[in-house]
Amino acid sequence: MTDTTTQGVKRRDFLKVLGVGGAAATATGCSTGDVEKLIPYLVSPDQTVPGVSNYYASTCRECAAGCGIIVEVRDGRAIKVEGNPDHPVNQGALCARGQSSLQGLYNPDRYRQPMKREGDALVPTTWDDAIGILAGKLAEVRAAGTGSRAVVINQHEQGSFPVFLDGILGDYGIAPHLSYDAEAPLAVAAANRAAYGAAWPAIDFSAASLIVSFGADFLDGWGLSVPQQLAFAEARGKVEGAPRFIYVGARRSLTGLNADQWIPVRPGSELAVVNAIAGKGAIAAAAEAAGVGAGLLEGLAQEIRTARASALLAGGYGPEAGAVASAVAELNKSRGNVGKTIKPQDGYLAFEGVAGHAEIRAAAARMAAGEVPLLIVRHANPAYTSAPGVGFAAAMDKVPFKVSFSSVPDETTSKCDLVLPDHHALEAWGDAEPVRGTLSLQQPVMDPVFDSRATGDVLLAVAKRGGDYRSYVAGRVGGNAALKDAMPKAMARGSVATRSASRASATPAGAGAAQDGAFFLMTYPSPSLGDGRGANKPWLQELPDPVTKICWQTVVEMHPEALKALGVEDGEIVTVTTSAGTLTAPVFGYIGLRPDTVAVALGRGHVGAGRYADAGENAWQLLATVEDRAGAAALAGTKANVAKAEGRQRIVTTEGSGRQHGRGIAQAIALPALLSGEAGHGHHTFEGQASTEFLPGLRSPTANDAQGDMGVPNSKDKGQYDPDHWSGAARRRWAMTIDLAKCTGCSACVTACYAENNIPTVGGAWQGPQILPDRTGFGANITRSREMAWIRLERYWEIDREPKDVVFDPEHPDFETRFIPMMCQHCGNAPCEPVCPVYATYHAPNGLNVQVYNRCVGTRYCSNNCPYKVRYYNWFGYGDPSRTQYAFPEPLHWQLNPDVTVRQKGIMEKCTFCVQRIKEAEHRAALEQRASVGEDGVRIDGLRPDEFTTACAQACPSRAIVFGDAADDQWSVAQWVKDRRAYHVFEELNTYTAVVYLQKVNHPAPTASATA
């Protein structure tokens, strides 16, 4: 907020006064300590109108990418984070992690004031005291001249802050800080820098006819997931001329599942494979090393040789990732891809100046040796995100004074002596330079939730320099006036100062002594929790992993064949042992994994990092101290043994059956078949089906919709689309298309829906029954399929048997996967409507299937009768603050969207097509005097085509979801529903859905025969 800088009276005092009035209107307001704060501003800034949102542009800080965001602020509270459409990085899209920044802002476990150590405990203190202590310590360090030995670790972020930090601390003689990012792909960045001159070139997937990923999980949160996904989905959405995609890697990640072909090479053999393809080795030998059929590699080499333009991407987390990346870069150069599909000139700057695991290890060694007088950490959590061999936590004990600027408790901060909680990024000023020459600015969108202070301001106070960090940021863009001008879009031309990279470098630890173990261990940053930083956000914990569909739980992934060999079944507890440590967790059979490999996601199993972060197990404990040549931890560089242990746990999964059983839910078509028009229209017909007239723009028979003549072909009765209909003609048929050729299954839409529609998370260990619960622990409710996600991502394996019976065939390891987002289909002839005894669900004239929460008595018949199973029931009082099961503990409930009801226990809820957004747009049109009354006396709402969209469509980084009015050809959705790939799910049930899916398109190998 550019102009809410000072207020005469403290806001909280006002609230208490206000609360006395507010208490009369609330049941709970018996004491002023427990008042409902109805409107946070008593005297509001000029542009704040109660009930009308303000939107502030800023920059996302959840990972290093630096996406632009727009934060919706209602009555002084941030309620939704969306992508900034004008931003060069993310173009309006935003991943689940970015959207969950709100739950970092409102995290109930945040430090509420500065803390200092007294004995074993951190106790609250005042800012004056805390700043005094820090100033004293820094003065000591300066006086003793030991500053060069102090260690400062900051969570890697782009922008000016690193330079600012070095500048202030430099005055005390402190060496430049370590900008640590445990999930940064440093080896690839270094190899790219050497080969292309840019650490992270933009990939023009659209220009490619072939994409080959050597373990590059560019859709899993690796690198810059949003721009990568945007480009990939755009390319695949072209259908004709879309690139074929081959994934090479031992574990099929989300990226791998989006590939047309999977070549599961053994971990560690990637370099041999790339070299063989480049002609620097025998294919047969490489295939032997990789443990796959030579035919697969020959085919791959052949395709790369003959591709018109290919994009070859290196990734992976092995110790040789750097060498693989260099080899792949050479291959790209030799194929002439650089400048065509790999565009270094459009590169991203996310990974400049990142410190690796090796540097953290070197720092820890110095700490352990007692050389370090002072440790300062900010947001980084090296005690968790480092291999146990580093011994970071133990080394911290040898440091006489440790300071943390983190705003949430974590493993590192809890061992510190002084905590000066930083503002959340949504409360603070900052900048980033995600692409060369463009500054992406970060501004506070609301008053601080707690008594925190921006680290920049604290350091300025400590150094007694005067001014504030805002002025510093303003200085980067040319002064206060320029900053004010830039803030509406939060972007400015300019560059941040680059750091002098003069910090001591560290030698990466190689694979070292041969490790024993029957299995290769692959750990990988969780697509939702990252390296662990998202673990205390319930949205991210509850977001099912896009691949395994498991949430709130750490599982040991093994191939079903390996499970059989071990004599265990899904859910039985196994112990994974490496040279570094052990991990005990339930085992899960995953068919997209080599049988000689086990995989465990990182990010869960925190200690003391908040109430939600305790879920699961910590896979960092398994990692041997192995680093790639750029110094990043080799997450896939350890060998492991797996042994059966006692017991069994239910897998916390949202998956029922992972196969479609021939039901045509997620349909796909091979490109040749589509082009030849064989199965072109994708219309699922059955014997005896009557032909039907279609409403212009939507495959919903006019005669059969709403209150028309059900099932009578060629009827003249147009139901509510009849202009003379007694209830007033429906002007709109709200509808949605979802292009499965674009959808990658990333699940950003799911989190968007949680944020927009106040969907409770139900996986907390305390959110179940209170007396004699038969299922306990995190995710207990979800083991009973009680998750509430109005939109869910179904992931279907196209295999001919149950996953547990799948056998790994090195010659033909491939299988197809299909993702399909499933939400209320807003049927024209909805099975849920007639069975409700109290009309709690009924059909609105604009095609919406409406759920009236206040009328629902909870018979749940509607859910039984829903073929799509998209209705969700409030089993407990998730929306009731007095309940243990309450899903929004203070202040998480500040995020709740005031336009959407928080549902009470005992009622049904479901996707509304974001009816509040429809209404908001209609109201806006009315206020702007666009609405009118037509000749027939029916109101015309005056909406502009594509004026607004639903939360899921807005967030989708694949741009797969299009929402709008299918009855009006000017809306884009009306064009999409005419696509030859369009189909309805379960069309044979005559539900006449408003959600139209476009078939996924498979790109078979050029020589292979086409199969759908």
């Binding site: 992972g658 039901r663 008595v857 909870g858 018979t859 018949y861 039984n864 009768n865 009082g877």
Partner: protein
């Protein structure tokens, strides 16, 4: 009337005949004394009542806990949104049907063997419907809003949705409860008069007097009584068919595989009568033993009812087989997958409990020896009760857990709350029944007296009364 001279009962009584005798019952006084002696409370009775109250208490606690916490404390596992409560609802509604069948349909058909068992069966009906009626309320998410299902005038002009089978249920159950209660009460009037005449306590005497409508045993009263009884029997008869048909619509009107089938109404009615007779046995067989009523409920009676049970078992079994046939013949993949999963997949154990208890074990009733063995009939009745509960389980749970959308397939495990309310329903039912048998005659005195020869005619072997 067959020969009274023969002390032995006929081996093969005709169940469709009014021609039935109680050779060991010889006088009206004997009837009054023997049947009214049951009304004396015993220690065993108090013990049984205490047990029933304990079960009821468990159910009440479970329900209160559930209302407070939310339905999540039960074992619901979406998409299995209906569970033990709906199963138990259908189970108890079904139990009720035998009572009406015995008291009304068999009355109209002049099936004599009904006479000594119909009162207990009719009381069972009323209490079973009272039990069943609770379960839709227990089952819904906001039970305090239950009245929204009832069409009552309100200023908002909101009516229930008459398309919804659940609203039909409200009508079916309330109608059934009203009619069966009335029928039970009307049949009791002459017997209450007997109680009144023998009562010494003036207050009780007064109450019984009111309840008996001042019955004076006149010809005119008997004529009116008989017409009223006949009328009510005729009124109740269609309910035997309609109520459970409506209950079956709860399922048949849904498009869930395994539910959406036209065979459900007859199938449910047959199943209801089948289960109801089993419950009659469960109650009557111990009663005839403990209360010394073997000469009222004779082996002939049991034999005759066993034939009805055998018939309904065959009808139910046929319905099971037709379901499989139609699933195959219909060619709908969802149905085929569902039936396969029901019998050979996830739910094989429940399906086979159902098939064994309802189809296979009742085949033993083809043997006359077993039909006339009360112990076997009682054991069989327990199996049938279990089997019929599982029939509803198999209809409700496997269908929902294996619906059209494979991604949402799931399982279902009830919790202690579900079991608590199931046990509580038995406590509730038996509490009422136990109170009933100590307050009112458990057999129809007047009707039994009709079939024993009047004393003044005892010299004649033949001739009616």
């Amino acid at each position: 009337m067959a020969t009274l001279a023969h002390p032995d009962e006929p081996r093969r009584p005709n169940i469709a005949s009014a021609d039935i005798q109680l050779p060991a019952v010889t006088s009206y006084e004997q009837v009054d004394n023997e049947i009214l002696s049951i009304l004396q409370p015993t220690k065993a009775w108090f013990g049984a009542l205490l047990l029933a109250l304990a079960c009821l208490g468990l159910g009440a606690f479970s329900w209160i806990y559930q209302i407070h916490q939310g339905l999540g404390v039960a074992g619901y596992n979406p998409p299995v949104m209906w569970g033990v409560y709906i199963i138990t609802f259908v189970f108890w509604v079904g139990i009720g049907h035998a009572g009406t069948l015995i008291s009304a349909v068999l009355y109209l058909f002049r099936a004599g063997f009904r006479t000594t068992i119909y009162r207990a069966a009719e009381a069972m009906t009323v209490f079973a419907v009272m039990t069943a009626g609770l379960f839709p309320i227990i089952h819904i998410g906001r039970p305090w809003k239950f009245f929204w299902l009832i069409p009552y005038p309100n200023w908002r002009l909101i009516w229930p949705n008459f398309k919804s089978p659940l609203v039909w249920d409200v009508f079916a159950i309330t109608t059934y409860l009203t009619i069966s209660t009335t029928f039970l009460f009307v049949g009791l009037i002459p017997d209450i008069a007997v109680l009144r005449d023998r009562e010494t306590n003036p207050i009780r005497r007064r109450i019984l007097g009111v309840l008996s409508f001042g019955w004076r045993n006149t010809e005119r009263e008997w004529r009116h009584f008989a017409r009223a009884y006949l009328f009510l029997a005729a009124f109740s008869t269609p309910l035997v068919l309609s109520v459970h048909s409506v209950v079956s619509f709860d399922f048949a009107m849904g498009i869930v595989p395994g539910w959406h089938t036209t065979i459900f109404p007859p199938y449910f009615v047959a199943g209801a009568i089948f289960s109801g007779f089993a419950m009659v046995w469960t109650i009557i067989i111990p009663m005839r033993r403990w209360f010394g009523l073997r000469h009222y409920v004779t082996l002939n009676h049991l034999d005759a009812s066993a034939k009805l049970v055998l018939f309904t078992s065959l009808a139910v079994g046929l319905a099971y087989l037709i379901e499989f046939f139609i699933a195959w013949y219909g060619g709908v993949q969802y149905e085929q997958d569902y039936f396969w999963n029901r019998v050979f997949g996830q739910w094989w154990w429940a399906a086979w409990i159902m098939l064994t208890c309802n189809m296979i074990l009742p085949l033993s009733l083809f043997s006359q020896k077993l039909r006339r063995n009360p112990t076997w009939l009682w054991i069989l009745s327990i199996f049938i009760n279990i089997g019929m509960w599982f029939e509803r389980f198999v209809i409700v749970v496997p269908s929902l857990s294996h619906d059209v959308e494979p991604w949402q397939w799931s399982s279902y495990v009830p919790t202690w709350v579900d079991y608590g309310l199931l046990i509580g329903s038995f406590g509730w039912f038996f509490m009422w029944f136990l109170l009933f048998i100590k307050q009112l005659p458990v057999m129809a005195l007047a009707e039994i007296k009709e079939i024993i020869p009047p004393k003044m005619k005892h010299t004649h072997g033949h001739g009616g009364h």
